[in-house]
C-alpha cells in the first residue's frame, strides 16, 4: 500500500523517470548549496571567531557579539539604517501607489507616461546616475538653485545628518518604477464590475478607493513593503558614493559598516557577527510584518 502511494506521487509522462526533473534543476540545487547555504554557514561559524584575513580563526564564543553591543558605531549604524528605512519605505510605497493609480486610468498617451516614469528605476542604480545625484545637491547645485529661485533659502544638504539622508531617500524614491509596476498589475487585476456596482450604489471616488481599491491591493502592498524593507536595510551604494557615510556617520549604514570591517580592516569574525545581527533583524522584522498583516490579508 505504501509502495503504491510512492509510485503515484510523481506525475510524469510515460517513459520519463522521476529523476529527469531533478536532473534538470541540478544547476539550481548545486548553486543553492554552494553559493547560498555554504557561505551562510561559513559566516555563522566565523562570527564566533577572532579572525583577520591571513591568520587562522580562533574560537572566542560570543565575544564578537558582546563587543558589538558595546560598540557605539554599531548602535549608530543601526539607528541610521532604521531611520533610513522609516524615511524611505512608506514614502516610496505611497508615491508608487499614487502614480500607479494615475497611470492606470485609460486615457490617450498612457503608455508613453508609463515608460517615462519607469525609466529612472532602470537607470537609477547606475553609478552614473548616483554621481549625477550627488551633484544635484551640492551647495550651488540644481536643487539649491531651484530653491533659491522660488525664494526658499538654500539648504546645506551635506552638512547635516537628516538633510544628507534625504539626498539618498529622494534618489531611491525617484526610482520607484519596479514598485509601481507591481501596483499597476495588481490594479489591472481588480474586476471592473466592482467599481461599476459601487458607482450605481452612489459611492464617490474617495469611497471606492478606500472600500475597493485599497483592500484589493493589500497583497501588493504587503509584497512591496517586504521587498522594499529588505532592500533598504542593505543600502550601500548610495551612501557609499554620495555621502561617504558623512556627516558624523549620519548616513553610515550597517551595510557600509560590514563593508569596512570586512574589506578595509579585515576583521572577518567581527564583520560576520555584524552581518548575522543584520540578518536576524531583517528576518525578525519581515516575520513581524508577516504576522501582523496576516489577519488583514486573509480577510
Amino acid at each position: 500500500m505504501k509502495n503504491n502511494n510512492k509510485i503515484k506521487k510523481y506525475h510524469n509522462p510515460v517513459g520519463e523517470s522521476k529523476y529527469t526533473g531533478l536532473f534538470l534543476v541540478m544547476p539550481f540545487i548545486v548553486g543553492f548549496f554552494l553559493l547560498q547555504i555554504y557561505p551562510f554557514v561559513v559566516s555563522f561559524v566565523l562570527s564566533f571567531t577572532k579572525f583577520s584575513i591571513n591568520d587562522t580563526p580562533e574560537f572566542i564564543g560570543f565575544k564578537n557579539f558582546k563587543m558589538l553591543f558595546s560598540d557605539s558605531d554599531f548602535w549608530k549604524a543601526f539607528f541610521v539604517t532604521f531611520k533610513y528605512v522609516i524615511m524611505l519605505v512608506p514614502l516610496k510605497i505611497a508615491v508608487s501607489l499614487l502614480t500607479a493609480l494615475m497611470l492606470s486610468t485609460r486615457i490617450k498617451g498612457m503608455g508613453f507616461f508609463r515608460t517615462l516614469y519607469y525609466i529612472p528605476s532602470i537607470l537609477g542604480s547606475n553609478i552614473a546616475i548616483v554621481i549625477m545625484w550627488s551633484f544635484l545637491f551640492t551647495s550651488e547645485g540644481l536643487v539649491n538653485q531651484v530653491l533659491d529661485a522660488v525664494g526658499i533659502s538654500k539648504i546645506g544638504w551635506y552638512g547635516e545628518e537628516t538633510p544628507a539622508m534625504w539626498i539618498i531617500v529622494f534618489l531611491r524614491v525617484w526610482e520607484f518604477g519596479s514598485t509601481m509596476i507591481i501596483f499597476l498589475s495588481a490594479i489591472n487585476d481588480i474586476p471592473r464590475e466592482l467599481y461599476d456596482s459601487a458607482r450605481t450604489d452612489g459611492a464617490g471616488n474617495i469611497k471606492t478607493f478606500f472600500y475597493i481599491t485599497l483592500p484589493m491591493l493589500k497583497n501588493a502592498i504587503f509584497l512591496n513593503l517586504i521587498l522594499q524593507m529588505i532592500t533598504a536595510f542593505q543600502e550601500f551604494n548610495a551612501p557609499f558614493l554620495i555621502t561617504g557615510g558623512n556627516p558624523l556617520k549620519g548616513t553610515y549604514t550597517v551595510a557600509m559598516m560590514i563593508y569596512d570591517e570586512s574589506f578595509k580592516y579585515y576583521n572577518i569574525g567581527y564583520a560576520s557577527a555584524l552581518s548575522w545581527v543584520l540578518f536576524v533583524v531583517i528576518s525578525l522584522l519581515a516575520l513581524l510584518i508577516f504576522k501582523f498583516t496576516k489577519k488583514i490579508r486573509s480577510d
Binding site: T20, I107, S125, M132, Y259
Partner: protein
C-alpha cells in the same frame, strides 16, 4: 464637462511629474557640455554652447587606460553572464514547470527563500570562498554564479511562461519521439522567447549597474569595469574640479543601458502597459 476638466487635470499632473522624473537626466546630459562654472550657475539644462572637450578629456582619463578599455571589461562580464543565466534559468525552470520529482516542493521553497535572502550577509563568506579558490581579481566570482540559476526571480518568471504553453504541443512532440532536451530547445524555447529576451535585458542592465561585487572582487585597475572606473575618476578629480569631465563620462556610461532600453522598448512597454511583470 467635469469629466473633461478631470482629464485635463490628470494630464497636467502627469506632465509635471514627467518633468520631475526626467529633468535630472536632461540636466546631466546638458551639464556634460557645459563649462565647470556654468554647471553651478544655471538651472537650465541647455548649455550656452556645446563644448565637446569634457568628452574627449574624460574618455582619455587621467589614468593609464581610456574609457573604451573599461567598457570592454564590463562586456567581458556581461556576455558570459547573459549566456550562463539564460541556459541555467531555462533548464531549471523547465524542470520545475514540467516535471515532478523528489523534494520538488522543498526545492521550490528554497527558490522562494533565495529571493528574500539579504545578499549583504553573503558578501564576506562568498569572498572567502573565492579567495580560497584563488580566483580573486578575476571575473570568475562575477560570472560563474550565473551558471547555477542564481536569479530566483527569472526562474519564477520562466516557470509561469512555461506553464502557459499549450500541453497539446508537448504531447504531439512526444509522439514524434522528441527527447527531454530536444523538446526544451525546439518546442519550449521558441514559445518563451519574449521572456528569455526580458531576462537578457535585465541581466544586461543589472550588470551594467553593478557596483559592490566588482568593488569587492576586482582589485587591479586594469580589470576595472566601467562602474569602478567612473568612481575612480570621481575620486581623482575632486582635487581638479573637472566636474564636466565626470559628468560627460557618466553620460557615456549610461549610453549602453539607454540604447538597450530604446531597442528593447517593445518588451518593456508590453510589461509596463500590461503591468504583467509580477
Amino acid at each position: 464637462m467635469t469629466k473633461n476638466i478631470k482629464k485635463v487635470f490628470l494630464y497636467v499632473v502627469l506632465i509635471l511629474g514627467s518633468i520631475f522624473m526626467m529633468y535630472p537626466v536632461l540636466w546631466l546630459i546638458g551639464a556634460s557640455f557645459k563649462t565647470n562654472d556654468e554647471i553651478f550657475s544655471s538651472i537650465w539644462f541647455m548649455p550656452e554652447s556645446f563644448d565637446f572637450s569634457p568628452y574627449i578629456k574624460g574618455w582619455k582619463t587621467s589614468g593609464a587606460y581610456n574609457m573604451g578599455h573599461y567598457f570592454i571589461n564590463t562586456f567581458k562580464i556581461i556576455v558570459p553572464r547573459i549566456i550562463f543565466t539564460v541556459v541555467s534559468s531555462s533548464l531549471t525552470a523547465y524542470g520545475f514547470a514540467m516535471y515532478d520529482f523528489p523534494f520538488k516542493k522543498l526545492l521550490f521553497s528554497f527558490l522562494m527563500a533565495m529571493l528574500f535572502m539579504p545578499q549583504t550577509v553573503m558578501f564576506l563568506p562568498s569572498y572567502m570562498i573565492w579567495k580560497s579558490l584563488g580566483v580573486l581579481d578575476t571575473y570568475i566570482p562575477l560570472t560563474l554564479p550565473s551558471l547555477f540559476a542564481s536569479e530566483g526571480m527569472f526562474i519564477f518568471m520562466l516557470v509561469q511562461f512555461l506553464k502557459n504553453v499549450p500541453r497539446e504541443i508537448d504531447e504531439a512532440s512526444r509522439i514524434d519521439g522528441c527527447g527531454t532536451l530536444k523538446r526544451l530547445f525546439f518546442i519550449y524555447i521558441p514559445c518563451i522567447r519574449p521572456a528569455l529576451i526580458s531576462i537578457m535585458i535585465f541581466t544586461f542592465l543589472w550588470t551594467m549597474n553593478e557596483f559592490v561585487q566588482p568593488l569587492i572582487y576586482i582589485s587591479s585597475v586594469e580589470k576595472y569595469p566601467m562602474t569602478l572606473a567612473l568612481r575612480m575618476s570621481m575620486d581623482s578629480t575632486s582635487q581638479g574640479y573637472e566636474y564636466n569631465k565626470i559628468i560627460a563620462m557618466s553620460v557615456v556610461g549610461l549610453l549602453p543601458s539607454v540604447s538597450v532600453f530604446a531597442l528593447a522598448q517593445k518588451y518593456f512597454i508590453q510589461d509596463i502597459t500590461a503591468g504583467s511583470l509580477k
